[in-house]
């Protein structure tokens, strides 16, 4: 999903479109009458990454690892606890509703559940036309014409302007959501599990639609998903999250062929293989136990409670996210390429 003439892994990186530094979101847990804070769900705990113009960053991880929270933080639907978000060099970390409004044109979101992301009492025309009304923009040729153009763009019948969401299938509804997100010609689109609520056959259609639209409109995507095959299909770079932290961040092919973090390896080994002959040969890593609670995450490396390579240092020290190879960062004391943290100290 790379725009021609804009290779994502170019040696001279363009200025990032989105820059995230040390992003933290803790949801407080209150107790009793006085609402004393008794703890916090550490949903996102210190994320640092860039999104370059024209690329697709895929974000994967198990349920509850903070992927969706991350998506809602960078679209500023949630207020970050700490850290910094920069969009095109402008700090948007703590902008209010009014301050964010002009930024909303450039950052848009596609939602997970096409059955809950469209207001059942509004027509498709109202839903897709809402961005123009809210931003006070009158597109060329009027709102109705522009909405019909957008419906055509996402492969829906423009005549269905006056229909209601319940008259469409899940895949069609998701297309309506995509049309709404694209109405203002955004630069960055954050898609939170855009296909996970759809049938597999429809998933491919929607993924390909996103792909085509990126080429046509020069979009930058952050796609959040738990499905590794979808992520592999759409992403240029991939971030693997575990319990609110990025454990590995790399270009697509190195991540899939030579993962450095044990967690990534375990995730990849869980992808179903359609060929029985190959299935018999491959190594399957089964993780023991559940994901620990983000209310009291494990000390040191958060993965050490389920990691088969964990040593005493893992429980004690938190591994930093270090760039081990060009464009391939990992947060692990014992990465899969054999270089140990002692040896790594010299490299970095």
């Amino acid at each position: 999903m790379t725009i021609p003439g804009q290779p994502s892994a170019s040696p001279e990186p363009a200025a990032p479109l989105l820059k995230v530094e040390g992003l933290v979101k803790h949801f407080p847990i209150t107790k009793g009458l006085l609402r004393r804070q008794s703890g916090a769900v550490q949903a996102v705990d210190g994320l640092t990454f860039d999104v370059r113009p024209g690329e697709t960053l895929g974000v994967v991880g198990e349920s509850g690892c903070g992927k969706s929270t991350m998506g809602r933080l960078i679209t500023r639907l949630l207020e970050p606890t700490a850290g910094r978000i920069e969009f095109e060099g402008r700090d948007i970390t703590h902008l209010g509703v009014a301050g964010m409004r002009p930024m909303r044109r450039d950052v848009q979101m596609i939602f997970q559940d096409p059955y809950s992301s469209l207001n059942p009492r509004h027509t498709v025309g109202t839903i897709v036309g809402a961005p123009f009304r809210l931003q006070g923009i009158t597109p060329e040729g009027g709102v109705k014409k522009e909405v019909q153009r957008l419906l055509g763009l996402v492969g829906l019948n423009p005549e269905h302007y006056n229909r209601y969401p319940h008259e469409f299938s899940g895949g069609q509804r998701q297309r309506i959501g995509i049309a709404r997100a694209l109405a203002l010609k955004p630069k960055l689109v954050v898609a939170d599990e855009p296909v996970s609520a759809l049938d597999v056959s429809i998933q491919a259609q929607v993924v390909n639609l996103l792909d085509d639209l990126q080429e046509e409109l020069g979009l930058t995507y952050v796609i959040i998903a738990h499905d590794l095959s979808v992520i592999r299909h759409v992403s240029d770079r991939i971030a693997v999250m575990y319990l609110g932290k990025i454990v590995e961040l790399a270009d697509r092919s190195p991540l899939y062929t030579a993962p450095l973090h044990p967690y990534t390896r375990a995730l990849l080994s869980a992808v179903p293989v359609p060929d029985p002959a190959r299935r018999a040969r491959r190594e399957r890593i089964l993780l023991k136990g559940d994901v620990p609670s983000p209310i009291s995450p494990p000390s040191g490396c958060r993965f050490h409670t389920r990691c088969w390579k964990a040593t005493e240092v893992c429980a004690r020290e938190e591994p930093p996210l270090l760039t081990l190879r060009p464009g391939h960062a990992v947060a692990c004391h014992h990465p899969e390429d054999g270089s140990d943290s002692g040896a790594r100290g010299a490299v970095t």
Binding site: L77, R101, R104, M109, F111, Q135, R163, L184
Partner: protein, 332 residues
């Protein structure tokens, strides 16, 4: 609630075309309201209730015309129709004749038909307007409490609990006895009606408020609210453009079911002497007067009683039908 009837009446006729999806014709969506109307049309009992409601509203609206055609002025005495010895109406069935359709009032011979027709005015006006007061207050407080949560929700919810625990009948009786004879530019019965509307509405809003709050609590978590926020929508837009259209259905249902309750409350208060002032006609007041004479003249009690019964039943049947029509998961 007759407004939806008129609203969707014209739209319902076009619905047949939609199903067949004629090519070349502009495609019209089937709005949730239109679907509800189609379902309501199939419910004969609810439709019958709706027709009776509509008739009652017309009777109340055109009371002077109807009385002019078929009766006598409501406060005109006809002592010649009264037996001077027993002071009961002459003739059988409470004096029912072609001249006095529902008979005459014992003692003074006022036309019962005219008084029932004018009583419909009082009953429906008080019931409708107090429902409006309750719905407006309940919707505003409920949606605000549900959407903002936190201390706003805590305060509104406690106030609602307080009002629900309040003995409203006693409060109204006490209040009516201290209200002056002219208030807000109104005189006599006008003051009483305004007080009834305000008080019944004020004690009714927590019922609406609780329903709206509960619905809002679940609606605000829908992704379309987040979608609106991600487009830069403010609170006002989300509350009134995104959430309110989804609350109209439960509010409509509750309103149609609240009106009969208000009719009964008004009748009860008039019966107890806290309603409109005589000589203004009201059903509850007629019942209260009939208590002393029902052994000799039962018709004078039966007729206003049936009027209340029919009104309440019609509204309830219609309200039930509206609820079934608007609820896609309904059992029927």
């Amino acid at each position: 609630m007759t407004a939806p009837l008129h609203d969707t009446g014209a739209a319902g006729a076009a619905a047949v075309d939609v199903a067949t999806d004629v090519p070349g014709k502009a495609i019209e969506g089937r709005s949730p309201w239109r679907i509800a109307w189609i379902r309501l049309k199939r419910d004969k009992v609810a439709l019958a209730g709706g027709v009776v409601v509509l008739l009652l509203v017309l009777v109340a609206a055109f009371a002077p015309l109807i009385v002019g055609l078929l009766g006598h002025p409501p406060n005109e005495f006809h002592e010649e129709t009264i037996d001077p010895f027993f002071s009961t109406p002459k003739g059988s069935w409470g004096g029912i004749s072609s001249d006095f359709l529902f008979g005459v009032e014992p003692g003074n011979g006022r036309d019962v038909f005219s008084r029932v027709v004018y009583g419909a005015r009082v009953s429906l006006l008080v019931a409708f307007l107090s429902a409006v007061v309750a719905v407006v207050l309940g919707t505003v407080f409920g949606i605000v409490a549900g959407y903002f949560g936190g201390w706003v929700d805590a305060v509104v919810s406690r106030v609602m609990d307080l009002l629900l625990a309040f003995p409203q009948l006693l409060f109204i009786i006490a209040l009516v006895s201290v209200v002056p004879n002219s208030l807000w530019g109104l005189q006599g019965s006008g003051v009483r009606m305004a007080v009834l509307i305000a008080v019944i509405g004020f004690f009714g809003w927590p019922y609406v408020g609780r329903i709206v709050r509960g619905q809002t609590l679940s609606l605000r978590e829908r992704e379309y609210v987040e979608a609106a926020r991600s487009l830069g929508a403010g609170r006002g837009y989300i509350l009134f453009r995104e959430l309110l259209p989804n609350l109209v259905a439960p509010i409509t249902v509750y309103t149609t079911l609240m009106i009969p309750t208000n009719v009964l409350t008004e009748a009860a208060l008039s019966f107890l002497g806290a309603g409109v002032k005589p000589p203004t006609a009201s059903w509850g007041q007629m019942l209260s007067k009939a208590v002393t004479t029902y052994e000799a003249d039962p018709m004078f009690m039966i007729i206003p009683g049936v009027a209340i019964f029919v009104t309440v039943l019609a509204f309830n049947l219609f309200g039930d039908g509206v609820r079934d029509a608007l609820d896609p998961k309904g059992s029927r």
